[in-house]
């Protein structure tokens, strides 16, 4: 996954920290803007990463966001060492959520995070083991639909 032509970014995401929520995705967005990736692609990357970042904050007690930006695509890895997802198929269903009430009151936990990530990305992979954590990999091609 390493390449001399790529730019890398790493963020540690703290669990239950709603004040700093979105910093990883905002940082990635700024970096992509500097690099000059098309705006509509940046938006999809930022939304997908934000959804994943929020899941790590809400469900996993923290984790890591890593991004690798190549000339042709951006790959985002989100890893956590949280409780894991027992049934990924169920978790991928729109509307399914295990978010606690205080999080739902903030407008999270609508059960749309994972489906949104899949919609935003060109390639979506999720691996989860109960008791040891979840790993998500999202690929975004840099070809703008507007072109």
């Amino acid at each position: 996954m390493s390449d001399s032509k790529s730019v890398k970014m790493h963020y540690d995401v703290a669990g239950d920290d709603f004040d700093r929520a979105g910093e990883a995705s905002a940082g990635l967005k700024r970096l992509l803007q500097k690099i000059g990736v098309p705006a509509d692609i940046i938006r999809r990357i930022a939304i997908g990463t934000y959804e994943a970042e929020m899941n790590v904050i809400i469900h996993a007690g923290g984790g890591q966001v890593d991004a690798e930006i190549f000339p042709e695509e951006t790959v985002v890895y989100i890893a956590d060492q949280g409780p894991g997802i027992p049934d990924i198929k169920l978790a991928m269903q729109e509307g399914w959520s295990t978010a606690p009430d205080h999080v739902r009151q903030m407008g999270f936990g609508a059960g749309m995070g994972l489906p949104n990530m899949m919609k935003c990305s060109d390639d979506f992979d999720i691996q989860s083991t109960v008791g040891s954590g979840t790993n998500i990999k999202m690929k975004f091609k840099h070809i703008s639909e507007d072109l």
Binding site: F18, D19, A21, G22, S25, A26, K29, A39, R43, A46, I47, Y50, E51, M54, M106, G107, F108, A110, G111, M112, G113, P115, N116, K119
Partner: protein, 114 residues
């Protein structure tokens, strides 16, 4: 239509300072579910919500919304405004219920069109 005209017509309170109001509004969206907004709202839309916490600034910035209207006198955290100003997000407030805000935006010709 620009945000400035929306502020004047609806009598909205401008909560953020130093964020320009001469921004085009290309459409509107209303929801209190953040994932729903991220999945459905498009850049340049004005967003009507009852949420007032910091994450509305993050969501608005990520999508590139023209402004956020916090309706029904819903409380807005001080940190929300700080975060909004840092990210060039306009936050507007009103005592009007969300239903009325949306109706008035619709009357102004603002539609849910991407």
């Amino acid at each position: 239509m620009q945000v400035r005209e929306v502020i004047e017509t609806l009598g909205l309170k401008l909560m953020t300072h130093e964020v320009p109001v001469d921004v085009d509004v290309i459409g509107g969206y209303a929801s209190d579910l953040l994932s729903n907004v991220m999945g459905q709202a498009a850049p340049g839309m004005i967003w009507v919500t009852m949420q007032g916490h910091q994450n509305i600034a993050a969501v608005a910035s990520l999508i590139g919304l023209s402004a956020v209207i916090v309706a029904g006198d819903a409380p807005i955290e001080e940190d929300t405004l700080k975060k909004a100003e840092q990210n060039d997000v306009l936050i507007l407030a009103t005592s009007l219920p969300a239903y009325d805000v949306i109706g008035k935006l619709y009357e102004l010709g603002i539609r849910n069109v991407k």
